[in-house]
């Protein structure tokens, strides 16, 4: 991945400042984890250790909370994170098949990242675009009325961009 150490350190500074600014450290674990995930994109072990230490909580407890809520992730996101909506509307209109097709074409399970770090795959609850169901989101871009046979085309949108070439 393209995370250089200096960005990481900056991330810790930001997270540390956020924690220091909290009026009380009690009961703030979830808030802090959310912030950390938005800074780092995911919650690797080192970040959880940092949080446990700063909030004076057992590491096991921090880990327990991360593993309990599905919106916390311990794997880094791909460069283009793909989310498939699994809300009711999308589900009844075939989101499951779309997801299966994505899993097949990317060769990764839900929650996984492709080996080149390009795509990651997750599911979401209703994103409020039911009129377009089933919905797939790649990065910031929303694709509506997706069918399994359209999956290849969506992925192709990201094929010819300037990946690092040596």
């Amino acid at each position: 991945m393209d995370n250089c150490k200096c960005c990481e350190n900056k991330g810790y500074d930001e997270l540390g400042a956020f924690i220091d600014a909290l009026p009380s450290k009690k009961g703030e674990l979830i808030t802090v984890l959310h912030r950390a995930q938005s800074i780092f994109g995911y919650l690797p072990r080192e970040v959880q250790e940092f949080i446990a230490e700063r909030l004076d909580l057992p590491l096991a407890k921090v880990y327990g909370v991360v593993k309990f809520y599905s919106f916390f992730s311990m794997t880094p996101k791909g460069k283009h994170p793909i989310s498939v909506c699994m809300g009711t509307a999308c589900y009844v209109r075939g989101a499951e098949e779309v997801l299966t097709e994505l899993v097949r074409q990317l060769g990764i399970p839900v929650g996984g990242v492709t080996e080149d770090g390009k795509f990651s795959l997750d599911t979401l609850r209703c994103v409020g675009a039911c009129g377009l169901a089933p919905v797939v989101i790649v990065g910031e871009k929303v694709y509506g009325r997706v069918e399994p046979k359209k999956v290849a085309g969506i992925l192709a949108d990201y094929s010819d961009e300037g990946e690092v070439r040596s």
Partner: protein, 588 residues
């Protein structure tokens, strides 16, 4: 006086103080509603009230849903039924679901006979299971030197988590995942051995199933006993004699010291010795160290640190290594009795027998799981040969005796062998909270004043209050002594000391287990009944009162050991064999 609430259960009226649960009310009527996740260790912060298992449901008139009795407050005029067909159906379903995701290897399980799930299944008389073919979870066993975790047997009652987090404040365990794959685990599912776990074993003591059990070494003992090339010594910790009887149907609090010695001899141990001997030795060193620090402190030496903290509990030692790495020079450097025994056995006694230490096997019988971990610590071995080879629990000794077909109840009383079997009353009370410091005070007071104590019983130091303090006049000085048992209480006391919130102490005794070693993680299961632990403690004080010698420094075998071999307490040889040092460990 709190307000009383009247209700009926199964048609029988009962009144309970406001705030009681339906379960409390049922207990008052001797109506035995089954429970599984609920556990209330009275006198400790251990109250598990997640109300997650639903085995305790009852019908409450006027309510649509069944109510978990362990978490539902009793209200005025409530009409409760604990055994309607609806209730029985619900319980049956809960049980069937639990068993559908539970391995069926009860015959090979260390908790068999003591498992609360097995007990329920037996009582309920389940003969088939509608959900039998559900998937089974497949976690790999985690084997630490002291504790085995088999999460396939976990029923997610979360008692262990409450114990580890609320009572012990160690925080090694946390519930992870949801639904079918949920278990309790250390951070990142790392092996327990790599975590902040202290091996106090209290999670094992409260786990209702075989998910958490001791690492069993009985077979290693049998192999050592069968090896004709080995000389096998055994030492038994103070708290074992007050609890072993429970494994053979005796009332809690029955002392079985003599039968235990006889059984060990029948098992084939070459020398039946007593950890109590080493407890007297610990007092010689620890009380000397205390007096030394105290004298220097009173003379104005600012480099000495007080209070001195006891160091005979290995779970407490590991706890402060993780949690108070800045205080590593505060605890006494004296080794625990188990390790002092091993060090003397494999030096002094091996020389006396004229055998190399490798030929000797030292087995210890402990109320404790942390001792299994302790004897495996690197600093307690010489060229890879440990001072104590195998440590087994009171429960494991019970199994050993049963395996060997020994009719324990009909054994005659026998004595320990000399010289490492001789002990005083001061040593035997090591097994209960307050006992170590009382033993130390008995010797320190006589040494400091040069006068014989008119009374050796220091009642002010006894009791089961989690954190206590006492002022003991010694000559023209008043010693301020603190006592804590349970690691959460230890933390509270230490934090108060560190933040100068309390009058400075001279000495503090700490034991990791609620009640001290009588409530240790290796003792017969008390199933939540803390009276059992209190009865064991009383038994130890009885044994103390009946001993002809009650002060460690008057133990003739100890005196001889110093004359013949060790020289003086805190002397060079004693320092080398009987003292240790501590390591900084990670905090989270």
């Amino acid at each position: 006086m709190s307000k009383m609430i009247d209700l009926t259960i199964d048609g029988r009226p009962v009144s309970v103080p406001e705030g009681s649960t339906i379960l409390d009310a049922a207990k008052k009527l001797d109506i035995n509603i089954p429970t599984l996740c609920h556990l209330d260790l009275e006198g400790t912060p251990m109250v598990n009230k997640g109300a997650s298992c639903r085995i305790c449901v009852v019908e409450v008139e006027g309510r649509r849903n069944l109510a978990p009795s362990c978490a539902t407050p009793a209200t005025q005029g409530m009409v409760v039924r604990s055994n309607t067909i609806r209730v029985l159906h619900a319980r049956k379903t809960v049980l069937e679901l639990l068993l559908s995701d539970h391995p069926k290897d009860c015959l090979l399980c260390a908790k068999s006979g003591n498992c609360e799930l097995q007990d329920l299944a037996e009582k309920f008389g389940l003969r088939e299971n509608r959900f039998e073919h559900g998937a089974q979870s497949t976690y790999v066993k985690d084997m630490s030197p002291a504790i085995e975790r088999d999460m396939n047997k976990c029923i997610m009652c979360r008692r262990c988590e409450t114990m580890c987090n609320e009572v012990q404040t160690v925080g090694a365990l946390s519930g992870i995942n949801r639904g079918f794959t949920s278990v309790v685990a250390p951070a990142f599912e790392m092996p327990l051995e790599e975590s902040v776990c202290t091996f106090c074993g209290q999670c094992v003591a409260v786990c209702p199933t075989g998910a958490l059990v001791e690492r069993d070494y009985t077979w290693k003992v049998i192999e050592a006993l069968a090896d004709p090339d080995k000389v096998v010594l055994v030492q038994t910790a103070p708290a074992v004699r007050a609890a072993l009887g429970e494994e053979f149907g005796y009332e809690p609090g029955t002392l079985v010291t003599g039968k235990m010695a006889a059984a060990l001899r029948m098992l084939g141990f070459d020398h039946v010795f007593d950890t109590d001997f080493a407890a007297d030795l610990t007092i010689m060193e620890e009380a000397s160290e205390f007096l030394d620090r105290l004298t220097r402190h009173l003379e104005g030496d600012t480099s000495v640190r007080l209070p001195i903290l006891t160091s005979c509990c290995p779970a407490w030692v590991k706890f402060f290594e993780h949690q108070y790495p800045d205080l590593l020079d505060v605890p006494s450097t004296a080794k625990s009795p188990q390790q002092m025994f091993g060090a003397i056995a494999k030096s002094f006694y091996a020389e006396k027998l004229g055998i190399p230490r490798e030929k000797m096997v030292v087995v210890s019988i402990m109320p404790c799981l942390a001792k299994k971990y302790e004897c495996a610590r690197d600093e307690f071995s010489v060229d890879g040969n440990p001072d104590v080879d195998i440590s087994i629990t009171t429960r494991e000794l019970g199994h050993l005796i049963k395996k060997a077909n020994i009719d324990f109840r009909n054994l005659p009383d026998e004595d320990f062998d000399d010289p490492l079997g001789a002990s005083t009353g001061a040593a035997v009370i090591f097994g209960t909270t307050g006992g170590v410091i009382e033993a130390a005070v008995r010797s320190a007071a006589e040494w400091a004043t040069g006068q014989e104590l008119s009374k050796v019983d220091f009642e002010a130091l006894r009791g089961l209050e989690g954190c206590r303090e006492a002022k003991i006049p010694v000559g023209d000085l008043v010693l301020h002594i603190g006592i804590a048992h349970g690691l959460g209480n230890a933390r509270r006391l230490l934090d108060a000391v560190r933040n100068n919130e309390v009058e400075p102490f001279h000495a503090i005794e700490i034991m990791a287990c609620p009640g001290g070693c009588v409530g240790g993680g290796g003792q017969p299961y008390h199933h939540g009944n803390m009276d059992i632990v209190a009865k064991r403690a009383k038994a130890l004080y009885r044994e103390d009162a009946n001993k002809p010698i009650r002060k460690s420094h008057e133990n003739p075998s100890i005196k001889a050991l110093y004359e013949e071999y060790l020289g003086k307490p805190l002397g060079e040889k004693a320092h080398h064999l009987l003292h240790t040092h501590y390591f900084k460990r990670h905090k989270i």
